[in-house]
Subunit: 336 residues, 2 copies
Amino acid sequence: MTIYDISKKAGVSIATVSRVLNGSSNVKPRTRKKVLDIIEQCGYKPNAFARGLGLNSMKTVGILCADASDLYLAKAIYYIEQNLRENGYNSVLCCTGYEIPSRKKCLNLLLSQHVDSVIMVGSNFIMNNAEDNKYVIEGAASVPIMLLNADFDCPNVYCTLCDDYKATQDATECMLDAGIKNILYLYNSTTYSGLKKLAGFQNALLTHDIPLRKEYQQCFPGSREDIDGVRDFVDKLYKEGLKFDGIVTSEDFLAIGAMNFAKANKIDVPGKLQIVGYNNSILAHCSEPNISSIDNRLEDMCIQLVKTLIGTLNQNEMPQKTIFSGELIKRGSTNF
Amino acid sequence: MTIYDISKKAGVSIATVSRVLNGSSNVKPRTRKKVLDIIEQCGYKPNAFARGLGLNSMKTVGILCADASDLYLAKAIYYIEQNLRENGYNSVLCCTGYEIPSRKKCLNLLLSQHVDSVIMVGSNFIMNNAEDNKYVIEGAASVPIMLLNADFDCPNVYCTLCDDYKATQDATECMLDAGIKNILYLYNSTTYSGLKKLAGFQNALLTHDIPLRKEYQQCFPGSREDIDGVRDFVDKLYKEGLKFDGIVTSEDFLAIGAMNFAKANKIDVPGKLQIVGYNNSILAHCSEPNISSIDNRLEDMCIQLVKTLIGTLNQNEMPQKTIFSGELIKRGSTNF
DNA sequence: ATGAAAGCGCTAACAA
DNA sequence: TTGTTAGCGCTTTCAT
């Protein structure tokens, strides 16, 4: 069933059918109705390939993300896909893993599929090293590239992010103000966003005239799945004599690991130890007491990202950078 | 840069370039090399739309899932996407939500995009009601449909699932054999798979000559995000006087909620209460002690599903149904 | 082993 | 308001 069949049955030309299909105003209402009826009757659906070939667009955007099974990234994908579909765009998903060559390959794959844009979900797409970011610039030469949670200055690259620096600083200051003296900062990534969080932590201490101590900034080397590993990691620090009465983390899974460490050692939370997570994910609800966690307004970011994207595709001038501020959601793992 | 440009530069016809591109054997090695060199040199990539138009396939499969942010579904999507890409297929994702009309709409959207196949991820795509399953049959008329974790008899529909019935039965029997008398079964869905699990639980009791008591089979009405709600739900049952020393659940979030209930009431796990989860997700690691959970071999299922799909698309005869068996992963929340 | 040419189904410029 | 027609870039059949 093609546009030719419909035109024949309706006794009009294919151009008219095409006009009806595309909602052109230059069609007599009666003709429109006749065509529409036939289309309905035949259950005709235009061929997306042919349309794509003509318009050089299939109304599709590529979503690149390291790992769609990651709690945080999965939520982002969910929000983004829904918003895109509401705007008439389909989503082609590519899970790249964390290696650069594989990312380049995925990006090229998407570009060769002629997606209208590429969304990179997660701060891990931007490195601290110009060489490794070249693929983004190259990609932006073909289509607009949208970054979620990353910051990168380049024409045709649009960033939507949360001020992780300030959010972490605020949370740390809350803790300091509550009288916590020895705060352990637990993190697991040195992406752009990861470093921002760390800097926020450091700045909070400096603002309070507290010297930075290296042993109070610990990078957990394991994976996000390895909560037991986090527990053991903190346990080891504790057994080695590190004294801490507060833990600020860069992700909820670290906070849960810390919580399990406390439980295993019968350390009262929040009485003797206060814990703050990041992302406000479901993990923050997995312990008793629940974990205070920084919400970085993922849904708002995703909505905004899609809005910016659609604007860009419609040739509107859109802001290159949109920054949200995070917010500490206070729960039972803290006293303040 | 099109096939014409390449053919001109190489001094051959477009047909020859096309042959080279598609690995046809009928090309003289020297010609092939010449063309390949030019292609390489120009960084030429064939236009996917044009190819799609000619072949009526863009090597793309649609993935339908209710909610890509659900822990379990997200993992499935991750595995499936990777396997598909390794086989040269792209994935178009559609998150449908849990309502039937929206599912139909998404399915039609994918079909109108001429995907080569549709994968439905999650047991919730098949209802206990023929009328509501009609859209699957209709879809199967156009392309092969792959179901993950659901069972549906229909030509051109292929199922890959886990024997949830047996897995739940086995876990329940383990508990009974360990001397647990009053087992509460906590579930949250009445999909095909949900009912199978429930039946497995019931059958275990019957096998041990224990009468079924309605109040020991409780359906949590809230969402998967609402772990606090689960805790309160169990707490209410407890406060109302229900006595139980074991809880078998249909999903890990229910188990975590039960665990938090125990913690809040200072009930020793596994001393006074034993808990079993389902899915063996990260949530099973979120409490201290960790939660024993049934692993339904999601990755194996996804790999098999893609294998079956690729076989089908290559016109091989493939089994309509593949069933895996689950396995209880024993951790600290149980004594057996 | 290679080339010419006919589609694939649609959009859009141009003509009427 | 409607129709005619030339592409879009590729695959494939049929000649050679």
